[in-house]
Symmetry: C2
Subunit: 340 residues, 2 copies
């Protein structure tokens, strides 16, 4: 492997998100002139008694939707309504199909915004749970998706996790979120267009073979973890089912435990290698109103993005990211981290 | 105007970037559980003698490309090479048109990455300059673009500014950057597709009339400033030329002074209203290799985004933003800020 500084920059194109990335090791050496950077992940408040997500504080939360195991005060996972929801479940969806005189498009903000509390205990984080514990969180997403997709107007469900202040989290207690939308959001439409074009060009789903080259990190029975060839972020990881599957919610119990183990391993590796970095993960699945038979080109996956450096005007303006760490180098580092 | 908290959420679609935004005032009320947020904009180091961008430290910088006024040690603006460039000017562009066996696309990282030092004095920021001083910065961009676009392989030039650590800046001395790319980056292609579709639907350029409704803030002789109807960020501002024009680099001296005044006013208003927030601005122009006559649907503009709150996994996953401040409310506030 060439050392980081020997590599010359490269422009790569991601075929899934149809995005360019500039891989540029020289960028990692630039000076930082501001007085202090806040710690990536400030320690949580010492008094944790005021956290509404802790066991015993259920009354401080918005209404519960489901808990696991059901009907017990000793819950392990709760799915609740978000008390400050982006969208309202009590609205009627009515997208303005006739543009107004200025051709502007808007609709009332109908949708569902839920919080998944991943553990009753404030001090635990997701990778502290057992593979079965992580699997239960994944199955809680699935159970809730199965409820939400009964709503005719829900077109897409975004599952995501924010860990650490720099990754956007406002609450320290381990949790993730789900937003069910009456639209197919922009990144999803463009991902579908891009993977469809790729499929038409090659007659193969591009994600079915992603683990077969130098960017792979680890494998489990049913999943592979890789650093994508055109990673937008340093140490970005994708966990991809080995067998073609378009919807996350098709996950069964056996695969959930298998994925739980691999997700836990990836989060532990990031934490060990990068000193507990803030991170986001996102589940990229398919829209709900398209038949599975029409989705040969759409393969769901889970994307993990450690937040190591922010972005700037270049990325906001162009949609093109600058990543100082080559994918092959990040994958090699992550392959070799030992978790005991 | 309805008070912020009375409004119900709305989903709006931006026709320029083809992006959805969720406008949701309820989100502004959520609690923040982390111990401390770093000050948005930490004070610069007290000893400024080590700043390479200050007058007298030119030898600590990468090579100079141009200065204004030329041939004088008492420069007002310098355009220099970035010492840690994302792309290299000494490479030959060779995008792999034949995909490799895994259908991956990459090319060597050819391109130009320059820094525009906006003032010789460390303590001054862009809006501290006179309208003519700001105009000179805009004309420095134009002059450098006119050099760069002579290169056949340069397809797009992204001009951007990062102000404050949270907006990505690593240097405190007032500056902006230009990256000249051998590709049309993803956000630009999708903006062109979207504005073209809009044009075909209405037979009008959507940005030519943007100032005629409730989202407008201020006007100058040749420009209007607005909060876009589907703003992705609270207090996002667009400055748009009144007369259709596809390329920023067509700016002449008179318009530069006019734009300099309006840009200064917008930055002063944001600074006063939002307590000197970190911000980015980006110039959204057209690719270089398309004839002006083919760009009736592409109208350049300058976008200013104050960085008030970060983003999280929802935005990263879906490309859909959550903005707690309605565009009409932000525009009203900005219209009424008095700068004396
Ligand atoms: N008592 C209670 N009962 C129920 N719910 C409660 C509650 N107290 C707080 N909540 C909710 O819990 C959620 C915690 O979520 P996160 O910490 O992951 O980030 P948040 O959604 O605040 O914003 C981050 O993620 C979003 C989405 O990506 C970005 O828009 C944003 O910029 C970023 O900071 C909040 O949405 C909050 O509304
Ligand atoms: N002596 C010297 N001579 C010449 N140039 C010098 C120099 N010393 C430093 N520089 C350059 O000056 C530039 C200052 O730029 P900014 O402060 O706007 O942000 P930066 O580019 O570091 O990163 C922000 O913007 C980029 C692009 O948006 C994002 O990728 C990134 O995450 C974000 O932090 C740096 O690019 C640096 O390489």
């Amino acid at each position: 492997m060439a050392s980081l500084s020997e590599r010359t920059p490269e422009i790569r194109r991601d075929r899934v998100f149809n995005r360019h990335v500039i891989l540029s090791p020289a960028r990692a050496r630039r000076p930082y002139d501001f007085k202090s950077k806040s710690p990536a992940n400030p320690t949580p408040p010492s008094s944790t008694t005021q956290c509404p997500f802790c066991i015993g504080s259920e009354h401080e939360c918005a209404p519960e939707i489901l808990r696991f195991p059901p009907n017990t005060p000793n819950w392990k996972i709760r799915v609740i309504e978000n008390l400050y929801p982006a969208l309202r479940r009590d609205q009627e969806h009515n997208f303005f199909t006739n543009p107004d005189p200025n051709f502007r498009l808007s609709s009332v903000g109908f949708g569902f915004h839920d919080v998944v509390i991943e553990t009753p205990i404030h001090s635990l984080h997701l990778p502290d749970l057992s593979p079965i514990g992580v699997a239960d969180v994944l199955l809680a997403y699935k159970t809730r998706i199965d409820q939400l997709r009964l709503h005719q107007s829900i077109k897409y469900i975004q599952v995501f996790k924010n860990h650490g202040a720099t990754a956007g989290a406002s609450m320290t207690h381990s949790h993730s979120q789900m937003i069910a939308l009456p639209i197919v959001p922009p990144s999803v439409s463009s991902r579908l267009e891009s993977t469809k074009a790729w499929f038409n060009e090659t007659r193969k789903c591009g994600l079915c073979n992603i683990g077969s080259d130098e960017v792979s990190i680890d494998k489990s029975a049913h999943f592979v973890s890789v650093v994508p060839f055109a990673a937008s972020f340093p140490f970005e990881i994708w966990i991809v089912p080995k067998v073609h599957c378009c919807h996350f919610h098709e996950l069964d119990n056996e695969k959930a435990v298998d994925l739980g183990g691999l997700l836990k391993l990836m989060l532990l590796k990031l934490s060990k290698q990068l000193n507990d970095p803030p991170y986001n993960f996102m589940i990229h699945t398919s829209p709900l109103d398209i038949a599975t038979s029409d989705l040969q080109f759409s393969h769901w996956f889970l994307q993990i993005v450690p937040q190591l450096s922010g972005i700037g005007g270049f990325e906001m303006g162009s949609g093109c990211y600058i990543n100082p760490v080559f994918s092959e180098d990040a994958a090699k580092v992550l392959r070799e981290v030992k978790i005991t």
